[in-house]
């Protein structure tokens, strides 16, 4: 009986593992099978560097979308990273226990709000503000960056906070004992020591910004053009899929899947970088599991 149970459980786990892995393989293969023919037809270089996107006329160039993704993500990173790191320092070092008790669930809630709600807030607050005070149509890189910056905060804050908290106590105690002020300790000792965790947090946050769809559809304006200023409207890779996926057929659909491949590869590179950095750190410290666990939970949102 015991042996039977033992065998059975092993088999069941294997079965479950095999089926979920095949589901994951299925979707990966599916995306590539759908998207590769058009890349092969247009030519990889022409596909990613082409300036014209007119699927109706057989023009498939996604360079404007890549430029859009890069500019919006960069903007979001410029706003989101410093704010996120400040908040994580606040939570790890400065906040009184009571504040922390409010702050942490609040950040979790921030992570759980649907992206359409963020997009909506951008549409009714940020876009009119930009239109009235800075000019242009309001739907712009700036609006998208602000909304995305808020959306990536939870990822950046929670992972950096964990890596700050996970530092051995004697780092801080030693620095303070040497007569450094609390701020000097944070700046010179704790931040550098937690660097790899923070970098991973930033990379995962950027990954999230690249992958976001609905919120940016609502505030970016979705023009297929190379932006000239941060008040210009752009289209990102995800919004390109989001806007056009439903009615696309044949080559147009393949081209959207090919856009998906490009996204997939970008995210994979980012993930690999984040993993490499955290792995390197883990060989040094013993907090691997704890930080990894939190990292994945937040990153997966």
């Amino acid at each position: 009986m015991k042996k039977f149970k033992e065998k059975l459980s092993g088999r069941i786990f294997l079965l479950l593992a095999l089926s979920s892995i095949s589901a994951l393989v299925l979707i990966t293969v599916f995306i590539f099978v759908q998207g590769l023919p058009i890349i092969a037809k247009v030519g990889f270089f022409k596909f990613i560097s082409g300036m014209e996107w007119a699927p109706g006329e057989g023009e498939f160039g996604i360079f404007p979308m890549i430029a859009g993704t890069v500019s919006v993500t960069l903007g979001a990173a410029l706003i989101g990273i410093p704010v996120g790191i400040c908040c994580s320092i606040f939570m790890a070092e400065l906040a009184p226990e009571k504040m922390r008790k409010i702050f942490r669930p609040a950040i979790q809630l921030l992570a759980g709000i649907p992206s359409v709600l963020y997009g909506f807030c951008g549409l009714i607050f940020v876009v009119p503000l930009i239109r009235d005070y800075l000019g242009g149509p309001g739907m712009s890189i700036l609006a998208g960056s602000i909304i995305l910056a808020i959306m990536i905060l939870p990822t950046i804050i929670s992972i950096s906070e964990v890596s700050l908290i996970a530092l051995p106590r004697h780092y801080k105690e030693g620095a303070l004992a040497l007569g450094m002020t609390h701020w000097q300790t944070i700046l010179r000792v704790q931040l550098p020591a937690a660097k790899s965790g923070i970098v991973a947090a930033v990379i995962l946050g950027i990954g999230r910004a690249i992958g976001e769809t609905m919120a940016v559809i609502m505030v970016l304006g979705n023009s297929v053009a190379i932006p000239e200023s941060i008040l210009d409207s752009v289209r990102t890779l995800t919004t390109n899929i989001g806007l056009e996926m439903a009615y696309a057929s044949d080559e147009h659909q393949q081209a959207l899947f090919a856009t998906g491949i490009v996204l997939f590869v970008i995210i994979m590179i980012l993930n690999a970088t984040a993993q490499y950095i955290t792995r390197k750190k883990h060989s040094k410290t013993q907090n691997k599991r704890k930080s990894n666990e939190t990292k994945n939970q937040t990153a997966d949102r």
């Binding site: 786990f13 994951l24 609040a106 759980g112 909506f120 997966d300």
Partner: protein, 272 residues
């Protein structure tokens, strides 16, 4: 040391700046939530919760959207849970760390990061065009299940790996089999992290729009709350009802978060 500003002054400025930024972030969050609740709560009443939408959503309530949201989420999580947790146990307990498991882990992590819209595309072609399931709770649930699977695998596996080795060693030394060890020693300690991952997935499914609009569809009586909200706003149909829907969504997500934290606290208490 040449420094123009005294360390004490620098400390004050820096700390002040960080406090300001942190409070601003909290302020923005509170502003968003308060604004939506302020606009949305007056719309919510019993009939808003219990009536189906009519006239494109201008009239009636959102009962059907609440039901669809809950059933799509439940279906997705219930399908993904056994597969995700099972895979995690298999990877963590039954295999050695080798190139294949590493590839699986890496692809799970990368798949967790790809935009939900790509899952939506996949779901549309696979479940609707190939399998002919139509726009339905089933297609949506299956698509979301695949979407949250990597999350559940990764979080569960981390939770399992985090369980101290001594637990396993003690169990084995007492003559426990692998299955007994997993069931009696590893699972109870890992359940906190696993629950955490599942609740994250629940939140993600509730909030998902892009993948769901392609697979559940946007029929007035067959769409989730997030889609209902999106349609009401983007088509400019009824801002009032949009705010009402948003308020309910926020309350629901708040509720999920509270439950999550309560559950986790209870498991921590138990573990000690």
């Amino acid at each position: 040391m040449k420094r123009r500003i005294k360390p004490q002054t620098a400390e004050k400025i820096a700390k002040g700046a960080i406090w300001t930024i942190a409070l601003m972030v909290i302020g923005i969050l509170i502003a968003i939530i308060v604004y939506i609740l302020y606009k949305g709560l007056p719309v919510i009443n019993w009939s808003f919760l219990t009536e189906a939408p009519r006239r494109m959503g201008k009239e009636g309530g959102i009962s059907s959207s609440i039901i669809i949201t809950l059933s799509v989420t439940a279906l997705a999580v219930l399908i993904a849970m056994p597969f995700g947790i099972g895979t995690a146990f298999y990877l963590a307990e039954y295999t050695r760390d080798n190139i294949i498991t590493r590839i699986i882990r890496f692809s799970a992590e990368s798949l967790a990061g790809i935009p939900s819209i790509v899952y939506g595309l996949f779901g549309y072609i696979f479940f609707l065009e190939i399998l002919g399931l139509g726009w339905s709770v089933l297609s949506g649930g299956l698509t979301l299940a695949i979407m949250i699977l990597p999350t559940i695998i990764r979080t569960s596996e981390e939770a399992i790996l985090a369980v101290s080795k001594t637990y396993r060693e003690v169990s084995f030394s007492l003559g426990g089999t692998k299955w007994q060890t997993i069931r009696k020693a590893v699972f109870p300690s890992a359940v906190r992290g696993i629950t955490n991952g599942i609740i994250l997935s629940v939140g993600r499914s509730v909030a998902e729009t892009a993948a769901v609009i392609l697979t559940v569809g946007s029929d007035l009586k067959m769409r989730t709350m997030a889609i209902h909200f999106y349609q009401l706003v983007m088509e400019g149909i009824s801002m009032e009802n949009a705010y009402g829907t948003a308020a309910i969504l926020i309350i629901l997500i708040f509720f999920i978060n509270v439950v999550a934290n309560m559950l986790i606290d209870r498991f921590i208490a138990k573990g000690r």
